[in-house]
Amino acid sequence: MINPKLANKIATGVIYGLVLVVIAILAALIGYILVTGVPHISWHFLTTQSQSFLAGGGIRDQLFNSIYLLVLTLIISFPIALGAGIYLAEYAPKNWITEIIKTTIEVLSSLPSVVVGLFCYLVFVVQMKIGFSILSGAIALTFFNLPLLTRNIETSVESISDLQREAGLSLGLSQWKTITGIILPASVPGIITGIILSAGRVFGEAAALIYTAGQSAPFVDYSNWNIFSDTSFLNPLRPAETLAVHIWKVNSEGITPDANAISSGSSAVLIIVILLFNVLAHWIGNRLYKKMTSSK
């Protein structure tokens, strides 16, 4: 019998060891991408159009498309996930139907992206005639986002102490008011994590977008603010290649002489953009949290 104090020490040591291994792997991975990619990033790279066969192409449109796609996806998926997460955490009766719903949502997240992509292609692009567009892409990505985001909101809401609920109810508030006024503000930090994770998925997804948002980047006019114009950068119905799709395309069928440079440069840009988004989301989350819960 090992004495508890020794066990405590050993276990702590093992945990530190495992954490160190993970940190080493992650640092090496991100370091590798940044070291190989950052030298290729320049103002020119970020602000010019891509090239099919000449060297010196940039990623301006792809970068913008990725961000725009993320915004659209969140607009579609966040409200649904929020409602569903609240339902599962607060209202759902504890019975087998709820269990089945939870299970199917979990199973949904294991579908290969190409299956979801083709499904959305056949239903939204072809049947509903939305065409290859950012909107179709956002719908496809909503399928990926919903399971994780719903699950995340559910856990963050559940993790708020029951004391808070009781306090709200005892003040005579309705359960709904308690949720929106007390529980949700308190779970903002957890929800922000979920949004960041799903944003990462949106930035990194390629296979599903090939069939929905498309893999071509037609001419886009950044001074055209008319959302219905074909060349407007804001038009959600134009086809749009994202950064991840561009990386995939350049690597698989690209014949530009600087394909390697573009690929590693784009990967590094992607990491930096995610980092910025991360910082921004945490910042907004913190402000929201402070404002809504009026804590210091």
């Binding site: 405590n8 495992l18 954490v19 409602g83 339902y87 290969p112 994780l148 994770l197 390629a206």
Partner: protein, 305 residues
């Protein structure tokens, strides 16, 4: 009269309540409808291999030759998916098996024993990993992991082992962040009570915190496995993508997802070649359902009473 009306009319709170309940119910219904739609789509397409093309179900899950568009020796098309089922199964299982202890360790570190500063840092790093496109994981695997496996274990370096290592890194963020969530959701008073009773920190973690977070951690593992199941582009580059029964961990093999992804663009809808690929998607769905139920059963057994 006035008072009577006031009492009989639903209060403002009741109406709010109804409104909110309806709103959240609509959201969950929307998800259920979407899920049902896509499930129906896959099932109807996947089943047609057997109903329209009259492929024997048993042949499909027990034979080892996969080439749906050519006629085999026995005069029937070759649609044996066994090698891919076995490979998908092992890759997913192994990568989740390796990733889980790491994820739990990182989770404990981030929520309980680590300094506050390092938590934010680790969280950011984990979140960054999710956003790296699979293609990039694939290429890094191809340039770093495959040669390492080749020199250490022989063979060509392509195979289940390399795929497991790549997937390990890919599922780590998912499992870790959901584990952190569920560890955070353990009520503080539980661990405080345990510490107050004189338990060491490890005893508290092991016997109280982890135990009550078990269902959440298992869900985290399920989501991690789901990601491993569905991953194609990265796996396909390092596993060799050869439809062979895996003899060991370092011979080329192929997963359901990578066959599906590479084949689907080259076949015509409605033909056996295409239907057979949808059947693979169906198998994938059933397998992840199986994993899901299995993990839940394990969770029920270990649940706090």
């Amino acid at each position: 009269m006035e008072i009577n009306k006031k009492i009989l009319m639903p209060s403002k709170e009741t109406r709010q309540e109804k409104f909110g309940r309806t709103l959240s119910f609509i959201s969950i219904s929307a998800i259920v409808v979407l899920v049902a739609l896509i499930l129906y789509f896959i099932i109807s397409k996947g089943v047609s291999t057997f109903t329209q093309n009259h492929v024997n179900l048993w042949d499909f899950i027990s034979k080892q030759d996969w080439s749906p568009s050519t006629i085999g020796k026995d005069g029937k098309p070759e649609v044996g998916a066994l090698p891919m089922i076995v490979t998908s199964f092992s890759v997913t299982f192994l990568s989740a098996l390796i990733a889980t202890p790491f994820a739990i360790a990182v989770g404990i570190y981030m929520t309980i024993i680590g300094p506050k500063k390092s938590r934010g840092f680790l969280q950011t790093v984990v979140e960054l990993l999710v956003g790296i496109p699979s293609v990039v994981y694939g290429f890094i695997g191809l340039t770093i992991i495959v040669p390492i496996v080749r020199t250490l274990f022989g063979g060509t370096g392509f195979g289940i082992l390399s795929a497991t290592m790549v997937l390990f890194v890919m599922v780590l963020p998912t499992i870790t962040s959901l584990t952190v969530d569920s560890l955070n959701a353990v009520p503080k008073h539980l661990s405080e009570a345990s510490l107050a009773l004189g338990a060491t920190r490890w005893q508290t973690i092991y016997k109280v915190v982890l135990r009550s977070a078990t269902p959440g951690i298992l869900t985290a593992v399920i989501f991690g496995m789901a990601r491993a199941f569905g991953e194609a582009l990265a796996v396909q580059m390092v596993i060799g993508n050869a439809i062979l029964m895996p003899k060991n961990l370092i011979t080329p093999a192929s997963t359901l997802t990578s066959q599906l992804t590479t084949g689907i663009g080259n076949t015509v809808m409605g033909t056996l070649g295409n239907n057979a690929l949808w059947s693979l998607a169906l198998v994938l769905l059933l397998m992840s359902l199986f994993f899901n139920i299995l993990v839940k059963l394990i969770g029920k057994k270990g649940k706090l009473k």
